[in-house]
């Protein structure tokens, strides 16, 4: 394996040329341009590098295997090297359910207790490991040479139970030769000043070689034993730190600056290590990142790319006879979609400039490749982190735009979980034809409208729903001019129903978007009656989140009946029309929305008082010991549960009172009820009362003994003292209430902070465990080893994406169709 033996603890000679037998020997590969590798003859880019070796004067222990060596010493006889168990005992353990490491552990645990070898009757001494690399036998230090001899005695047929491959020998864990990594894995850097700066590994190897040399000198001159031992230990130290510089128990080798050296283990380990940092996660070219902003005028399948970005990002185009003229045109062009580079069949890449343009046009012929700038309609892979599900990466069609932000339609922000308060997103340009085709056919937005999680549509939310609700309410009308404008936005160039009227209802306009095949009934939160659509015509009801938006049945039915492209078009049209309609009608909220009438306030006060009174009664009962406890609960727990129940009821009753009073015309109510934004809890907290504050799911209980603050009575149990806040945000809070509310706030902040960490780690583990499972040709689920996990995926082979709930096949509908034939 080794290309050269390294003996000289130096790198370059005075002329700056690598020394033969030195650490940058040209036989180990080249890092400097201009030189050739002496082993393979390759240059800087072509030579992969070759290992060298250092012959260690005395053997040393490999730290990575210190525990394994320890285990081997304890498991095998120190005289004959056999496992200190009878053959039958080993066989029996081998038959057991444990395999691999677990089997070995069982053997070890049994064998280490034996103090006599059953094979050669030799007495077994007690072995101890003083970390990291010193072994003691009955208190006496074992030298690596002695350990090596012991390990050499282990017979081959005993290796398998010891969990070692027969191809290997255990004594190889004590090193007599140290492999020297190829020069290419530890390149030296030439600084601007012309000085060379060497890699950490090279530094370490120099030290190691020096000590090795000194030990050799001392041995040949017959130096006294203690000096030899010291040097041997030092050699061990250097080899140890060369392998693992964060070994516990020994000081880390350091730079002159005091920084710890990065040696072999550190290179591989951790998030920025070779494996996770460079192999499973890589930096890529042809990508970009910018702040995102919303643009309802583009399709959900499009993405607005800033012109500056488009000029930098390129798509390769193979020049053939058919597109030769086009290629020339790209090179010729002076403006945006032009060629940035051409690539000759030899692989040489030339930048297209004003100066060489003419020349290149002359030159270009089939077989060349040009890299042209990104232009409209190119597939672009779009992503927002954290990429929690596969809808976090989808393909959009590029649309080159002025400005510096990436634009997306707000309707598709939900699957990305994006908002526009400064979020940034990434784009990637697929380069090969395969990648482009796959990106286009598999990752496109229209292919991913359905969530693989449960088959819901994740498009259109917030303002879209508000706008839709406003449009489809009773009595919403638009003038002829407005109607034309709205429909024009959705690229419909006719009046609703081809009728010439002065006014059109919102429903009439929406009807133009719904395909005729749609017949559906769905509940509505905004109108008394259900939404009824017959043959693409809204007969009654106000459309809201149940019909459109995430999980909406209307969109889903259009997708089922008319296909993905129609569904996408529908969402696009809905998006632009609803947003436009909101702008026409105006939509805003103000403090007035949340101020309640005197009567309602009175009613609410009554509710609040009454519930608190009830709670107080329970408290009294509890104090007297008359409270009947729930099954399996103590009296105290019962009381707390009862009060919490009551306080929860308060919210509901207050909400009903608000809903009673508030006009459906109120903008905030429209948003809440339609499911666009905001919840009734928000309303209640602003208008009526904040309700019960809780820490760790219980009424407030922290702070002083029996009370939260010293300003309260001792051992109080009253609702208001334990965090019930009957004031609303509009009323304002008392200092005590503010404090209580803050306690709740802090608690939920901590909760979310911890939760994101926990759930992130959980996700990582689950996904790593299930990563390899896939559906194979016979639709069974198998893992990487081709073992069967499920015989039929999900029991019925149905993709969750194609279901709504259980199976998702509407038998009634099929029946109707059959009957109507």
């Amino acid at each position: 394996m080794s290309a050269v033996r390294i003996v000289v603890p130096d790198i370059y000679d005075d002329a700056g040329y690598p020394i033969e037998g030195g650490l940058m020997d040209l036989k180990m590969g080249v890092v400097n341009p201009g030189l050739r590798c002496k082993t393979c003859g390759g240059r800087k880019d072509t030579c992969p590098g070759h290992f060298g070796h250092i012959e260690l004067v005395r053997p040393v222990i490999h730290v990575g295997y210190n525990k394994k060596i320890y285990d081997l010493l304890r498991t095998t006889c120190s005289e004959c090297g056999k496992i200190t168990l009878k053959e039958e005992d080993v066989k029996e353990i081998e038959k057991g359910p444990e395999k691999g490491v677990y089997q070995f552990r069982k053997i070890r645990n049994k064998a280490k207790k034996k103090n006599k070898c059953p094979h050669c009757e030799a007495e077994q001494k007690e072995i101890k490991l003083v970390k990291p690399t010193t072994y003691k036998e009955n208190g006496q230090i074992l030298r690596p040479t002695e350990i090596r001899e012991k390990l050499e005695r282990i017979p081959e047929e005993h290796l398998e139970p010891l969990n070692i491959s027969k191809k290997n020998r255990p004594e190889w864990m004590i090193m007599t030769v140290l492999p020297v990594p190829p020069a290419t894995t530890r390149p030296s850097i030439t600084l601007e000043s012309g000085d060379r700066s060497e890699d950490d590994l090279t530094h370490k190897l120099i030290d190691l070689l020096r000590i090795n040399q000194r030990l050799a000198d001392n041995l040949s001159t017959g130096a006294p034993q203690p000096i030899i031992e010291d040097l041997w230990d030092l050699l061990q130290y250097h080899v140890t730190t060369f392998i693992n510089n964060s070994t516990t128990g020994i000081p880390a080798a350091k730079h002159r600056s005091g920084k710890s050296l990065q040696t072999l283990f550190e290179r591989l380990k951790g998030k920025e290590g070779r494996i996770k940092g460079n192999l499973t996660g890589k930096r890529v070219n042809f990508s970009g990142r910018s702040v995102i902003s919303p643009d309802p005028s583009i399709s959900i399948g499009e993405v607005g790319i800033p012109k500056q970005m488009a000029e930098e990002l390129t798509v390769p185009m193979k020049v053939t006879e058919k597109n030769l003229e086009k290629a020339k045109e790209y090179i010729e062009r002076e403006e945006h979609p032009k060629a940035n580079y051409i690539r000759k069949p030899t692989g040489e890449k030339i930048k297209v400039t004003e100066l060489n343009k003419e020349e290149l046009i002359e030159q270009i012929e089939p077989g060349y490749e040009i890299e042209r700038q990104l232009k409209d309609n190119d597939p672009v892979v779009f992503n927002r982190q954290p990429s929690l599900h596969r809808l976090s990466i989808m393909t959009h069609r590029a649309k080159i735009m002025p400005g510096k932000t990436i634009r997306i339609n707000d309707g598709i922000a939900l699957p990305y979980n994006a908002d526009f308060d400064g979020d940034e997103m990434n784009i990637h340009i697929p380069q090969t034809t395969e990648a482009q085709v796959e990106a286009d056919n598999l990752l496109e937005v229209k292919e991913n409208l359905l969530s693989p999680k449960d088959g819901e549509i994740l498009a259109g939310h917030q303002d879209y729903i508000t706008g839709l609700a406003i449009m489809t309410r009773e009595n919403t009308t638009f003038t002829k001019k407005q109607t034309l404008r709205l429909l024009k936005k959705a690229e419909i160039n006719r009046l609703p129903g081809d009728e010439d009227k002065e006014e059109y209802t919102g429903r009439e306009i929406i009807n133009e978007l719904i395909p005729e095949s749609i017949t559906l009934e769905e509940k509505s939160n905004l109108s008394e009656e259900n939404v009824k659509i017959e043959n693409g015509e809204i007969k009654q009801g106000t459309l809201d989140e149940n019909t459109f938006g995430p999980g909406g049945s209307l969109t889903r039915q259009i997708l089922d009946e008319e296909g993905k492209a129609e569904a996408q078009k529908f969402i696009d049209q809905m998006g632009i029309i609803t947003v436009e309609a909101i702008m026409m009608k105006g939509h805003t909220i103000s403090m007035e929305n949340y101020e309640l009438s005197k009567e309602t306030v009175k009613k609410q006060e009554k509710v609040l008082e009454q519930k608190q009174e009830e709670a107080k009664k329970d408290i009294e009962k509890y104090r007297k010991g008359e409270l009947e406890s729930y099954p399996g609960k103590t009296e105290k727990e019962t009381l707390e549960a009862k009060i919490r129940e009551k306080m929860a009821e308060v919210d509901g009753e207050l909400r009903d009172l608000i809903y009673e009073e508030q006009n459906i015309e109120d903008h905030s109510i429209i948003m809440t009820k339609s499911g666009a934004r905001g919840s009734w809890q928000n309303l209640v907290q602003m208008s009526s009362a904040l309700g019960q504050s809780a820490v760790e799911g219980k009424r407030l209980d922290k702070g002083y003994k029996g009370r939260i603050l010293p300003h309260q009575e001792k051992d109080t149990l009253a609702p208001q003292d334990k965090g019930f806040i009957p004031n609303s945000f509009i009323d304002g809070l008392t200092p005590l209430q503010l404090f209580q509310n803050s306690m709740d706030g802090r608690d939920s902040q901590i909760d979310t902070a911890l939760n994101t960490q926990d759930s992130g780690y959980l996700y990582k583990r689950i996904s790593n465990a299930l990563l390899d499972l896939k559906v194979v040709q016979d639709r069974s689920v198998r893992n990487a080893e081709n073992e069967i996990i499920q015989f039929k995926y999900g029991g019925d082979q149905i993709h969750p994406q194609n279901t709504r709930g259980e199976v998702g096949i509407d038998l009634d509908k099929i029946k109707r169709k059959v009957q109507n034939q």
Partner: protein
């Protein structure tokens, strides 16, 4: 062709449940229509099938993982006050399940009495009392007499009656626990003289005596009688317990062993075996994720993956991820260097069949469009 035969024709083609439903719906149709309806159903079913190559594991993990970010940490949640017991919910419970943890935070057992007792409140209450663990200190006052080095146990007569206990039984139980014969057994007084060498050891004997279980099943801290109303309006009783001990509970004659259920994964595995464990995992996962709307097929896949090896295998580095056959895949997850060293020692080969390995070496992953492979018969080529 009779209708029956038509159904038979589709027996292997359609999933059982779907066929059942189709049968029901097609009652009033004639043969031709029935045939057509089934044909259409089959067509739609075929369209909805999962495609070969789909990363089933990946999407299952994403379904849970993406939702997990929205789960709350609220650990204990009262599962309805009348249920009597509270269970761990939300994210911590999901973690507990997929880690197949040895000691779940709150183990709960839902005990159903045999059908004949179900409606009999007194009888069920009797079973309940039998199950709930009662310790000596709960029914008696225990004192030590340092001068005489004696332990004096004074049973509470009322409680004894309630639990239908005799002083003799208690004495017998304590005798077994502390391995000393009682000196005196009277109705209101039991005396032990443990011959202890010191006061300290006497104290230890007292502690042991206090903890002696005089009645009930071990580990069952509390058993609650729960009323359940059936659809027919009948009241049935069952028992919910904090803590489980299925081995002993199932031994009780009046308990319906077929319908009794423990939410503890390791215990179910120990008592009922791997198939039951899979079912428990699935049901419990469905229960915790109920409000988050995750398709059940994802959860079923997770339950299947966790129990494939014939024992519950946790996720993570000591479980499924740590037991992968590929070195590179293991190294890519956690404890990178350890796996590389071990692989060297065992002379492992990596067949590059999984995802992580292929990403590391820069190959297309064997999933989706990457599953397709082209093989050339070299022998044929030579000819």
């Amino acid at each position: 062709m009779a209708k029956k035969d038509i159904y038979k024709e589709y027996q292997d083609k359609l999933p059982e449940k779907l066929l059942e439903k189709a049968k029901e719906k097609s009652q009033d149709l004639n043969q031709k229509q029935t045939k057509e309806m089934l044909e259409k159903t089959l067509k739609e079913y075929e369209q909805r099938k999962i495609e070969p190559g789909e990363a089933a594991g990946g999407i299952a993990a994403q379904a849970i993982g993406e939702r997990a970010t929205q789960m709350t940490l609220k650990t204990f949640h009262v599962a309805g006050l009348s249920e009597g017991v509270s269970v761990v919910q939300g994210l911590p419970r999901v973690e507990e399940l997929v880690e197949t943890r040895k000691n779940p935070k709150r183990e709960v057992c839902m005990i159903k009495p045999k059908k004949e007792f179900e409606t009999n409140r007194e009888k069920v209450e009797e079973i309940r009392a039998k199950i709930e663990e009662t310790k000596a200190k709960d029914i008696a006052e225990i004192e030590e007499d340092f001068a005489e080095e004696k332990i004096i146990i004074k049973p509470d007569q009322e409680k004894m009656k309630e639990l239908n206990l005799e002083p003799k039984e208690i004495a017998e139980k304590i005798k077994k626990k502390i391995r000393r014969t009682p000196e005196e057994v009277k109705k209101d007084k039991i005396i032990f003289k443990p011959n202890s060498s010191s006061l300290k050891s006497l104290r230890r004997y007292v502690e042991k005596t206090e903890k002696t279980r005089v009645k009930g099943v071990e580990e069952i801290e509390r058993a609650t009688l729960v009323e359940k109303e059936t659809e027919e309006g009948e009241t049935r009783y069952e028992i919910h317990t904090d803590g489980t001990n299925m081995e002993e509970i199932l031994e009780i004659e009046e308990v319906d062993s077929k319908r009794t259920y423990s939410n503890s994964v390791p215990e179910t595995y120990k008592v009922l075996g791997i198939e039951a464990t899979r079912e428990i995992l699935y049901r419990e996962l469905v229960k915790v994720t109920e409000e988050y709307g995750i398709n059940k097929r994802h959860l079923l896949l997770i339950a299947d993956a966790l129990t494939r090896k014939g024992r519950p295998t946790p996720i993570g580095r000591h479980g499924l991820s740590g037991e992968k056959s590929s070195v590179l895949a293991r190294a890519a997850f956690e404890e990178q260097v350890k796996h590389l060293l071990k692989a060297a020692q065992k002379g492992e080969k990596d067949p590059l069949k999984g995802i992580a390995e292929n990403i590391i070496v820069g190959n297309p992953i064997p999933m989706g469009t990457g599953t397709v492979d082209l093989k050339i018969d070299l022998e044929q080529q030579k000819k």
